[in-house]
């Protein structure tokens, strides 16, 4: 499935819902949405909703770390939500719970 980012903001919480395969080639698409959300006034937190994500590679993990750093600059914690199946396994192997809050 085509990679897609659907970003919404509600009461200061920006949600980036990812869809499809997230890899290196999606960097600019993701970054665009990321920067749009981070520029929102009154941003309090960022949620990465991975419910519809099929796969992510190590470059995508790296892109998420970049988001974490950028969000930290505006004091917004990043939560990963609804990671399932292979996506969850990849996050577990990389021990992303050390850097992100991971919620089901």
């Amino acid at each position: 499935m085509q990679f897609h980012v659907n970003s919404t903001i509600h009461q200061g919480v920006a949600t980036l819902a990812l869809q499809g395969r997230f890899d290196f080639s999606q960097y600019s698409l993701f970054k665009e949405q990321q920067e749009k959300m981070l520029a929102e006034p009154g941003l309090k937190a960022v949620v990465l909703d991975l419910r519809s994500l099929d796969y992510l590679d190590s470059a995508a993990l790296g892109i998420m770390l970049v988001l974490l750093d950028r969000a930290r600059e505006v004091n917004a914690p990043v939560t990963i939500r609804n990671a399932q199946g292979v996506v969850r396994e990849i996050l577990d192997v990389a021990h992303f719970d050390r850097m992100f809050t991971i919620e089901d």
Partner: protein
């Protein structure tokens, strides 16, 4: 006569000026030439005339940058069709060519278009049609040139990408080739995806006969991957050759990568240390698929080392955890490690091979005995027609290949500190102490050593650390080396009791054997290094059997020394142990 003006192709820019074309007009009929030339020049074009094909070619070769050819079919000396063929053969890019002829024989038209003419018009020339044809030709030429430029840019990009990729490969080949003589007897396979995608296996045998392997997978492909790998491989070689603890190597790699790499670049890695004389196996796995210890006969997985850490280079030094997993291996076993390219191979219907797929294969009693072949074949079958997206890297290390017999001459205690070649020793102290036979019964070596160390300027925390290390290594040397006690005893019920009783009895009977200690405290520019070597007359560690509960022989003691010292090494197949403690700024002169 039409006064239609040329308008450029619809590019969306209304103000684009009329493009003036340089036209080569070849016709033997002067009247036709005058007519066409007059018409084109009124529209802003520049026309060069030729009376036959040869003239036209001459004009073309004199200055070839024509943007339109108008060629009459019937001409003396060289006719229009020959001219057309000659031009089209010579031109490097597409330039429109209009063939004109007095007759509208279908045959001529077909022949003209066949040899490369783009448009065909019959005499008498209709100027509105000529205008339309020139416009159409211009439009196509613009499209063509645009495409050509984009194509060239793409080609340049592609070439650069290829060159970068080759450079990445060469850089890494060079690093690993330099290390070829250090490679332990491992079988492995790296199946590269189309581009170099950042997988690498390096292995090193240290001075103290420890074997180290590093299975790494860098983020990204090509040069970015190589940039991540290069400092890591260098650091690994340096530290592993020196025999540093695996946890120290992991920490150093992480800190170095974290410091030097941009955020988002990191290295998934499995670090492995094998000690042939103690049969100790250590693994640090950060972000890689599990590594396995496999019993080849029964096809059983006896240990599995899953990732306990994020990849190297992700965590800041204060958050990094260097704790390793360890177990005791048996030489009949095989160690298997891989990168995620192996477990993430996809089948045509989108299923993933997974760690489970690999485990199933490893334990399959029917599989090919050659593991590398077995895995390669299985992955090929699984992937079917799908091309691998990532490198597939597999390390298969039969542990029998590490047996002690393969170890050559072992270095004994060295006189000079070789770790600080760039930082010369400005002075220092050393002393030796030995005790043998029944004198061991009453010897209190550790306090003696501490006293001397205090006398020569070692104090505070460093002195405490040194004392613990000396005590631990001395008791190992006496208990296991001289008295030949087996620490497996401790694992029985009431083990410690039995162990100490046995120890007392053997000590009472002791008539030969001994231990030998050499300590040096060398001063460098802004630090001092304490090195203590402790040898015994025993046979080293080789005869010790692996206890069942995954603790290596006298494990706690050595673990403590490893933690407290800055380096712990073994020589003489375990009969000599040696630790270093780096002391910050020893300024006080000995009292």
């Amino acid at each position: 006569m039409s006064d239609l003006t040329m308008t450029p192709p619809d590019t969306g820019h209304e103000s684009t000026p009329v493009q003036s074309l340089r036209v080569l007009l070849a016709d033997d009929d002067v009247a036709t030439r005058l007519l066409i030339r007059g018409f084109l020049e009124r529209q802003g074009h520049r026309v060069v005339e030729a009376a036959n094909g040869e003239d036209a070619l001459r004009a073309f070769h004199a200055r070839p940058d024509f943007q339109l050819f108008i060629v009459d079919v019937t001409m003396p000396i060289m006719d229009g069709l020959s001219l057309c063929r000659a031009l089209k053969e010579t031109l490097a890019s597409w330039v429109p060519l209009i063939l004109i002829s007095a007759n509208d024989q279908e045959n001529d038209q077909v022949q003209g278009l066949d040899i490369g003419a783009d448009y065909y018009m019959t005499k008498p020339i209709s100027f509105p049609l000529l205008t339309a044809t020139v416009k159409a030709a211009q439009r196509v030429a613009l499209l063509y040139n645009d495409l050509r430029q984009k194509n060239a840019a793409l080609q340049r990009y592609y070439n650069k990408n290829r060159a970068d990729n080759d450079l990445a490969r060469q850089l890494l080949e060079k690093i690993t080739r330099a290390g070829e003589n250090r490679v332990v007897d491992a079988q492995y396979v790296v199946t590269p995806a189309g581009d170099f995608s950042g997988d690498m296996i390096v292995s090193v045998r240290s001075m103290a006969q420890r074997h180290y392997c590093f299975v790494a997978d860098a983020t990204g492909h090509g040069l970015p991957a190589a940039i991540t790998l290069m400092p890591a491989v260098e650091t690994f070689y340096q530290l592993a050759e020196e025999g540093y603890a695996l946890s120290t190597i992991a920490r150093e790699l992480n800190d170095r990568l974290q410091k030097s790499l941009p955020r988002g670049h990191f290295l998934a890695a499995t670090l492995i240390m094998l000690e042939p004389h103690t049969h100790r196996l250590e693994v640090w796995n950060g972000g890689s698929p599990p590594a396995y210890l496999l019993e080849p006969e029964s096809r059983e997985i006896t240990a599995k080392f899953t990732a306990r850490h994020p990849p190297l280079g992700v965590l800041a030094p204060d958050l990094f955890e260097s704790d390793i997993e360890s177990t005791i291996f048996h030489p009949s076993q095989t160690l298997v490690a891989c990168t995620d390219g192996v477990v993430e191979v996809e089948s045509p219907d989108g299923r993933m091979f997974g760690s489970r797929g690999l485990e199933q294969l490893l334990t399959d009693p029917e599989r090919n005995e050659d593991l590398v072949e077995a895995v390669s074949d299985c992955l090929d079958r699984f992937a079917g027609s799908r091309q691998p997206l990532d490198d597939q890297t597999l390390l298969v290390l039969p542990l029998a290949s590490l047996s002690r017999s393969s170890i050559g001459g072992v270095p004994v205690i060295r006189e000079q500190d070789e770790t600080d070649g760039a930082d010369p020793v400005s002075g220092g102290w050393y002393f030796s102490l030995g005790v043998r036979g029944n004198a061991l019964k009453e010897a209190e070596l550790a306090p003696m050593v501490s006293k001397v160390l205090a006398e020569i300027g070692l104090s505070g925390q460093s002195a405490d650390r040194a004392q613990v290390c000396v005590i631990e290594l001395l008791s190992n040397a006496i208990d296991h080396g001289v008295l030949g006690l087996d620490s497996q005893m401790k694992h029985q019920p009431d083990g410690f009791e039995i162990y100490f009783q046995e120890r007392q009895q053997r000590l009472q009977r002791l008539a030969e054997g001994g231990v030998f200690l050499r300590a040096s405290l060398d001063r460098h520019k802004d630090k001092a290094v304490l090195r203590v070597s402790i040898s015994d007359t025993g046979e080293g560690f080789e005869d010790m059997k692996a206890p069942a509960d995954n603790h290596y022989p006298s494990g706690r003691g050595l673990k403590l020394v490893e933690k407290l010292s800055d380096r712990l090494r073994f020589h003489d197949g375990g009969a000599t142990s040696e630790f270093d403690i780096v002391v910050d700024a020893v300024t006080s002169a000995p009292r």
